[in-house]
């Protein structure tokens, strides 16, 4: 299997890795980096469970070859909280009961984070649109949308939320 060396930032840490050229990013994260917070629900870019942020954009990591992240900056769910300190989105998901089985949750949080990072005060419709690529079979979405809305309303354009 052909291999390629890539350099990238993962959750703000500089990294270098050898990857098989046909390896999907989701598998690279889960297997090579042992970061299993990124989930795999369909493998065809439909469920959003594998969402990560690449250079500020929410991307389905099952649709991207790991080799293509060379030079990019990746955020996974493991990099959203700072140790014990939860990100406001994570806290808001807990407070609003937006988590049931939790399998969609990492992807949902990353899609929401990508939205709020670029658009801190989205409308409800913008939130729903940003999350529309993330399927949740448990919650019916209301509490998830409420959780994201609450963070955007609390975010009065101050310092960027980390």
């Amino acid at each position: 299997m052909a291999k390629q060396t890539i350099k990238f930032f993962i959750n703000e840490i500089a990294a270098t890795a050898e990857v098989e050229t046909d390896k999907l990013l989701v598998d690279f994260l889960r297997e090579d980096l042992a970061m299993t917070g990124t989930k795999k629900g369909c493998g065809v870019g439909e469920c959003g469970a594998c969402t990560v942020i690449i250079d500020g954009r929410a991307v389905n990591s099952c649709m991207v070859l790991a080799a293509t992240i060379d030079g990019s900056s990746i955020t996974t769910i493991e990099g959203v909280n700072k140790g014990e300190q939860l990100h406001r989105l994570q806290q808001s998901f807990i407070d609003h009961g937006a988590v049931q089985c939790g399998f969609c949750t990492p992807g949902m949080i990353l899609s929401a984070k990508a939205l709020l990072d670029s658009n801190p005060k989205p409308t409800e419709q913008e939130i729903k649109t940003a999350l529309s690529g993330n399927l949740c079979r448990c919650t019916g979405y209301h509490k998830i949308v409420a959780a994201v809305t609450a963070v955007s309303e609390a975010d009065c354009g101050g310092e960027k939320n980390e």
Binding site: G37, I77, N81, L86, G97, G102, F103
Partner: protein, 448 residues
């Protein structure tokens, strides 16, 4: 200390782990020296399995083990139907009945097919390899010879005596309800409505596909599984492996939804076999396609309803025939159809009831438990019938329901007297009142 007991909307115990990605679902678990498994599944719906040639697969680089039904230590082979009626103590008598399979109600699903394929997706062989890719490649090298049989996909066809036999008797369950005298009620009825309703097959579509990891240390088998019932899993694995029940440990991994679809055995027995034969930890994770092909579905129904009512809108009789396509294996089918029959009147008191409800085998995907367990289908029928009645009599949909709802002291179709906590009327009233506050489109039904 604020109240955190009854009535408190505390945050879930597992919430922090789930929002930080630390929650370990079965596919996230890694054990030292772990192998990866794949399952060979049938691509035809009905066939006699003639022969399996695993030699090429076994020789494929990275492959550690290829298993077929012949490698099952316990009495779990070809899925010969063993009826509860023949053997009232199902679990106790299975060791004497060889071979048999797995299943919550009937052990009719083979762990691995050894003589007959009954649906697309039947498991035929297993591979454990050093990598998932090697396992996947090896699966494709297994040669299967089979002789196709005529198949049946329509439950009404399957009920006919000359239909292809999925099992020795395609009619798996007949559940009857008889209360009062429906024919007399129809003779005296002011309004009779008769309609056929149909419902479709749907998928649970939990976002987490089935997954598990197993390991065997020479005496204990330990499995981490995405499941809804560890104690059932334990018994099925123990019987398959011919081990004492307490030598099997099932640990539920964090489970990404189930909705009834993770009540059946999925990866459990396959993992147990591979871990036992390789003495190494083994992981099996379904792809979405495999999950959709192999797992149980919601039963599609054909529902014939004939209802009688007085001109005041009081239901006096329900006669119903319900046919559920349970696919190739029983799974929860008998339970689903029984529940459908019991709930067929809806939350209403109907004095005369006649119901015949069937669960029928076909060569379709297996149907089993799914959120609602056979009741959403009949709810569609009884609620449609009530609205048709209301329209005929010029009653509001609310009024016709209030005339018929069960109240404390009410008697169900099975003769059960409901003594307390019969909140249907209250939900109707509160829903109507709340709806009327939602805007002008909601009718101002008079709430008596």
């Amino acid at each position: 200390m604020s109240n955190t007991g009854m009535g408190a909307s505390v945050a879930r115990k597992d919430a922090v782990k789930k929002v930080t990605g630390q929650a370990l679902f079965a596919a996230d678990i890694v054990r030292p020296g772990m192998l990866h498994a794949k399952v060979l599944r049938s691509t035809v719906p009905h066939a006699i399995l003639k022969a399996l040639d695993i030699s090429e697969a076994a020789a494929y680089p990275g492959v550690v083990k290829v298993l077929t039904a012949a490698d099952i230590p316990g009495p779990s082979g070809d899925g010969t139907l063993v009826k509860g009626e023949i053997c009232s103590d199902r679990d106790a008598c299975f060791p004497a009945v060889r071979p048999c399979g797995v299943g919550i109600i009937l052990k009719d699903e083979p762990v691995l097919v050894h003589d007959k394929i009954r649906r697309i997706g039947d498991a035929i062989a297993l591979v454990a390899a050093e990598t998932e890719q090697a396992a996947e490649a090896a699966i494709k090298l297994i040669k299967v010879s089979f002789q196709e049989l005529p198949a049946v996909f329509d439950p009404i066809e399957a009920m006919k005596p000359d239909a292809p036999q999925v099992h020795p008797n395609n009619i798996l369950t007949v559940r009857k309800i008889r209360k009062g005298d429906v024919e007399a009620a129809f003779a005296n009825a002011d309004v009779i409505l008769e309609n056929r309703y149909r419902t479709q097959s749907v998928e649970h579509a939990y976002i987490e596909p089935e997954a598990g990891v197993a390991e065997y240390d020479g005496s204990m088998l330990t499995l981490w599984v995405s499941t809804q019932n560890v104690h059932f899993d334990r018994k099925e694995v123990a019987r398959t492996m011919n081990m004492d029940v307490n030598k099997v440990r099932i640990i539920q991994a964090v489970t990404g939804g189930g909705f009834g679809g993770k009540l059946d055995i999925s990866v459990q027995c396959h993992l147990a076999l591979l871990a036992y034969h390789t003495r190494r930890p083994v992981k099996l994770v379904y792809s979405r396609e495999e999950s959709m092909v192999a797992s149980a579905k919601r039963h599609p129904y054909i529902i014939d309803y004939k209802t009688a009512a007085t001109k005041d809108g009081k239901w006096t009789a329900l006669k119903a025939t319900i046919i559920a396509d349970t696919g190739a294996y029983a799974s929860y089918g008998p339970g689903v159809i029984t529940r459908a029959a019991v709930h067929a009147t809806g939350p209403y008191e109907v004095p005369n009831v006649w119901i015949d409800a069937y669960a029928v085998y076909t060569n379709n995907p297996m149907a089993g438990a799914m959120r609602g367990f056979g009741v959403p289908q009949v709810a569609f029928a009884h609620e449609s019938q009530l609205d048709l009645l209301a329209e005929k009599l010029g009653l509001s949909p609310l009024a016709v329901r209030l005339k018929n709802v069960l109240v404390p002291g009410g008697i169900t179709a099975t003769g059960q007297v409901l003594k307390h906590s019969v909140g249907i009327k209250e939900t109707l009233l509160q829903a109507a009142q709340t709806a009327q506050k939602q805007g002008p489109n909601f009718p101002k039904w008079e709430v008596e």
